[in-house]
Amino acid sequence: MKFGVVQFPGSNCDFDTFHVLRDVMKRPTVMLWHKDHDLQGVDCVVLPGGFSYGDYLRSGAIARFSPLMQEVKAFARRGGRLLGICNGFQILLELGLLPGAMLRNKNLKFLCQHVHIRVENARTDFTRAARKGQILRVPIAHFDGNYFAPPRVLRDLETNGQVVFRYCDADGNVTPEANVNGSLDSIAGIRNAAGNVLGLMPHPERASEALLGSEDGRTIFESLILSLEKRTPAGRPAAGKKARHDR
């Protein structure tokens, strides 16, 4: 199996994500250039954090037009696993691969700090190594992480188990104080209805080595590896059958 990390102009967690996938998780990983049309046969595409196009206009708004993103869209439609971290999540929202939009943090300031998130759904390709209700300590670093979606969309997210992570306190309580950026329903990460696309604001790649203070973020990469290594890799349609995903 092989990971691909997309590099946009202004991405700045591209090398970090690459480092964690290749050197910490020890899986083959390649960089994918936004101007290319070639996904190099990867099994999972990661859209890393950063400030693609300077976050000008709106975070993620310009990156979605990159040539490579047309391939990524098709890859996701075929069931390929797609993970968006922070700016990557914002790009997925702008692309329409995930529902909703990001607003400025409620205190109108950039926020960089460790937060706790609770695993709301452990039966996804991105969380199967975790327990439902497990609390992860991971850092956030963003200006626009205040998740918004119209009420109907929020309802659907809840009913379909698409809310995968919620901000909580150290004991797992979802409180207004723990919801530092003001996200609706304390949403920190969601997946699409088909289950192959996940976006989250916290940075799991910054919490994958004990030396840096937390290894909780590894769960997400471990889950992905588990689901990818157990099944026919998605994205390469195997024997005409669509890949299936945990729901």
Binding site: P9, G10, N12, C13, F15, D16, H19, V20, D23, K35, G49, G50, F51, Y53, G54, D55, Y56, N107, L108, K109, F110, L111, C112, Q113, P139, A141, F143, H203, E205, R206, E209, L211, L212, G213
Partner: protein
């Protein structure tokens, strides 16, 4: 045509003008005069400081490049070097706090990557007027968001810094930014134009009218009439800078260029003439080829513009296309605008006419240096005799007030706005005594710290400067790092005032002495003079950035108490001195007395002792004593401990209670160890001539101190924590 008024506007004296005429053998035209005006400004030419800066030690075993390049370079082994430097952006940050601070970050980042290093960390040293004044708050909000806006988007972590408040910065905030980059030893680049016939390429943002005369502005006092210089403000574009970084590193990595220089102060003028002068060559430039953002710019404007995010490259003709391909990949143009020539002259043409023809050496190297008149700094106002100073009845209350005083209070409000983890190297986040960054693929780690106590330097510039170096090294020692090199930013008032020059001379002397004692070279820095507004000078404010090395990052130590039941050890001697303390300033409203005594040799012994104990794995936590003394240090150790563990301290040393708790005697470090290791540690200390005493145990939920059997302090940790934590945010509370 060139008269006194015109010279005044260019910040040049008549003597300097005569020298220019003599050096270039003709009357300069207006454009040439403009060039000399910026290159011979205080900011670029170091006219007033050069004679003194010579005192600083610049050599050492790690030094690959000392002062004189864009940044210093130190060998850290393993085939790698660190490239680091500090830069001030004080005046621009007052005029437009957000953009001033943002472009300050942009400028220092370019200084680092122009040498082939990827910037891996930034620290910021900030000085504002007190935050109870809304104008100071708005400057501070702007500065902090400017640093955050630029650094975060560029993708460099801001891993620490310092913030102090004093009325002397009301109209003259200080914004000093320290950046450190990492490079392979064989891939360091210099700002040299070599090889006649080689092409000069311009990359990055287009040139506009912004920032014309920024360097001259930083070289004059501020007053009402500076207002009209405001249209000069530059807007930073961190996105473009990030593209520039990647493209520049790529052409350097692939060996496609000969030399490279960023365009900072004095823009195209500085970069072209400096590169030529350093390469011992001349240069021709065709201004019509320079990408321009605005129509109708004159040669004068194009040459003096300080538009941000621009660089100048030199490449051999056959590599030009390859360079341009790399830049195109990053959506950047890289037009050829000129050529390196023999003969040492800069020949610049515009619309087919030669508009500048001068020897580069005169511009770059022959700026006069002044040994300006010096007056001995006024002796500090004497501190009242201790007996005359009333001792607060409730020392717990005093501690709470100190913890809440803005200069000591928690700075999370600031650093939470900075991305301090991007690049996944930050082992110690802001909050530790020094930032610690791992070096990927190795056990070793880098540590860095920024320090400067301007209250001390105000009272006694020489002692204050010595303490600044000692304190910075002490911060490094506390995490387990050995200092390897220094950069410094010297923020002073108007050097034409003899008393300011006196402060400067004393401070540099103190720095030199301390750096020599510690055996650390100064590889570069920055001087910011003319920090005066409406006739008032800021306190002399040297800021020290020191880089250290840790042999094994797993041994690095944090300030917070680790567990209950550990022994608390105080290294260093506590004296009966209160001069220059935050206690005197905050509680008694006095900025008086002599700063604490500093014995550099003793300091070094104490630090060495702590370092060895850390390396031996005997130290559980370590924290230096600085502002607020023992009581504040104990409180901070509790705040940084995972469960906010308190401590019970019991000691007797004959000092007055307030001097014991809040005195700022130097060379002291608080550390904790396992009880079983205590006696061994104390024995080693005694054998080394290092005063060290066991003063108590960690544990409990209070900060408690007994002095000669009397309890003089008992404050719940949580209460102290809230005082410290809630203070700064309280000033900025968003109204709901």
């Amino acid at each position: 045509m060139i008269d006194k008024a015109l010279l005044d506007r260019h910040g040049l004296t008549e003597d300097e003008y005569r020298l220019i005429v003599e050096l270039i053998g003709k009357e300069p035209n207006l454009t040439e005069l403009g060039i000399f005006s910026v290159m011979w400004s205080e900011h670029c030419g170091y006219k007033s400081s050069r004679v003194h800066l010579k005192k600083l030690p610049t050599e050492g075993e790690h030094v690959i490049q000392g002062p004189g390049e864009n940044a210093g370079v130190l060998d850290i082994g393993g085939g790698q070097v660190v490239v680091f430097k500090i830069e001030s952006h004080n005046h621009p940050s007052y005029i437009e706090p957000y953009q001033g601070a943002a472009t300050g970050v942009g400028g220092i980042l370019r200084d680092i990557f122009t040498m082939g290093a990827r910037p891996i960390a930034v620290m910021d040293s900030l000085r504002f007027g007190p935050p109870d004044d809304p104008r100071n708050r708005s400057v501070m909000e702007g500065v902090v968001s400017g640093i955050s806006g630029y650094g975060n988007a560029f993708g460099v972590p801001t891993v620490g810094g310092e913030v102090y408040f004093d009325p002397c910065y009301n109209l003259n905030p200080l914004v000093n930014v320290f950046c450190l980059g990492l490079a392979d030893k064989d891939k360091v680049f210099y700002a040299r134009a070599e090889g006649a016939g080689n092409k000069v390429l311009y990359v990055g943002a287009k040139t506009g009218r912004d920032g014309i005369h920024g360097a001259t502005m930083a070289s004059a006092e501020f007053g009402k009439e500076t207002e009209h210089k405001r249209p000069n403000v530059q807007v930073g574009d961190p996105f473009k800078e990030k593209l520039l970084l990647e493209a520049c590193l790529e052409v350097m990595d692939r060996g496609l260029i000969v030399g490279i220089q960023d365009m900072g102060a004095a823009g195209l003028t500085c970069s072209t003439t400096e590169m030529a002068a350093k390469g011992g060559m001349g240069i021709v430039i065709d201004l019509d080829k320079v990408p321009q953002r605005e129509a109708g710019m004159t040669p004068y404007e194009i040459l003096l513009s300080e538009s941000q995010e621009r660089m100048l490259l030199v490449a051999t003709p056959e590599k030009v296309e390859a360079v341009q391909t790399v830049f195109a990949k990053w959506d950047l143009d890289a037009p050829v605008i000129g050529e390196v020539i023999e003969g040492g002259r800069a020949r610049i043409s515009f619309k087919g006419e030669v508009v500048v023809d001068i020897p580069v050496d005169a511009v770059v190297n022959l700026c006069p240096a002044y040994d300006r008149p010096i007056a001995a700094p006024a002796p500090p106002p004497p501190a009242p005799a201790l007996e005359a100073l009333p001792q607060p009845a409730d020392l717990g209350e005093t501690l709470l007030r100190l913890l809440a005083s803005p200069s000591i209070a928690d700075k999370e409000w600031v650093f939470r706005q900075y991305d301090h983890m991007v690049q996944v190297n930050t082992v110690f986040l802001p909050g530790a005594d020094a930032a610690v960054l791992r070096i990927k693929g190795s056990r070793r780690a880098l540590a860095m710290t920024l320090d400067g106590n301007a209250l001390y330097t105000r009272l006694d510039p020489r002692t204050g400067a010595r303490i600044a170096v000692a304190e910075a090294c002490r911060n490094l020692a506390c995490v387990g790092a050995r200092p390897i090199g220094v950069t410094n930013c010297l923020n002073f008032g108007n050097p034409e005032k003899p008393e300011v020059m006196g402060q400067f001379e004393q401070a540099v002397t103190g720095l030199a002495e301390a750096c020599r004692t510690f055996g650390i070279p100064v590889t570069g820095g920055n001087v910011s003079f003319y920090n005066d507004t409406e006739g008032l000078s800021i306190h002399p404010t040297p800021v020290l950035g020191i880089v250290g090395l840790i042999g094994d990052v797993r041994k690095a130590v944090r300030p917070g108490f680790r567990a209950a039941g550990d022994a608390v050890v105080l290294v260093g001697e506590s004296l009966d001195e209160l001069g220059g303390t935050q206690y005197l300033k905050t509680i008694h409203g006095l900025e008086a007395g002599s700063p604490p005594l500093i014995d550099l040799e003793q300091e070094k012994r104490n630090q060495e002792f702590v370092l060895e104990a850390i390396e031996a794995g005997l130290v559980r936590s370590a924290h230096d004593l600085s502002e607020g003394g023992l009581a504040v240090a104990l409180a901070e150790c509790a705040f940084h401990s995972p469960r906010k563990i308190g401590c019970e301290v019991d000691l007797a040393n004959g000092l007055r209670d307030d001097a014991l708790l809040f005195g700022e005697s130097q060379s002291r470090i608080l550390m904790t160890c396992r009880p079983a290791d205590l006696s061994g540690l104390l024995e080693t200390a005694a054998a080394r001539g290092v005063p060290a005493q066991a003063i108590g145990r960690t544990g409990g939920a209070a900060l408690a101190v007994r002095h000669a059997g009397r309890e003089i302090l008992r404050v719940p940790v949580e209460k102290a924590f809230r005082a410290w934590k809630d203070s700064l945010p309280g000033f900025f509370r968003v109204q709901a």
